[in-house]
Subunit: 123 residues, 2 copies
């Protein structure tokens, strides 16, 4: 995708879809936590913080479906389930980290723009 190249519409859609997938409320937080190593369900729940059990389940299922995370069940009592990033999941962290750094570096500018917009439209 060179600069000046007429980027195909389907590619833009594809990017947008991926972005929507990992751009939901919890996926990125979960992936980030698993980036430090495998975790059990409730460990992950505590590590992420503020996520409901329902959303953690659905988030993990979707991440598993898309091949970012593996789910390993140990048939013990009580049961134990480990979640771990796949190779694809770890590779995803690279471009995401790029966006992360940009976001951290620029969130002040965004907040500032937002504040300016809000005060100007309040008139």
């Amino acid at each position: 995708m060179k600069p000046g190249h007429p980027h195909a519409t389907e590619d833009c859609r594809a990017v947008s879809e991926v972005l929507q997938r990992i751009g939901d409320k919890w996926s990125l937080l979960v992936v980030r936590r698993l980036g430090d190593g495998p975790l059990r369900f409730n460990e992950l729940r505590a590590a992420v913080g503020g996520i409901s059990q329902k959303m953690l389940t659905t988030t993990l299922r979707t991440l598993e479906r898309d091949g970012f995370v593996t789910r390993t069940v140990f048939p013990t009592i009580p049961p134990r389930v480990d979640y771990e990033l796949t190779e694809l999941g770890r590779e995803l962290e690279v471009p995401v980290k790029g966006l992360a750094e940009w976001a951290i570096a620029n969130m002040a500018r965004i907040s500032e723009a937002r504040r300016r917009f809000d005060t100007s439209t309040a008139a």
Copy 2:
């Protein structure tokens, strides 16, 4: 929290928020189109394709609020409104392009993982 891997929780949240902002259904598509230069409302509507007038309006308003886009009104009859990327908007394209290239390069792997997951759970 591991030493040597100092991503604070607030930073993760911040990234997640930015990702959700541009990870909605249309923002990225709009930004991509404006990346080729300023466009009028209906030009943009046609260029993006499939977006409703309401969503284009709200998407542009939010992008404007966050400082990614400028809105210029020409007080003519009929009215003319130009939308253009700001410097911040153009800078955003850099990390997004990184993610874009990753998405395009790996969407086959995602589709494959998804297909495998779906057929295995169908049983």
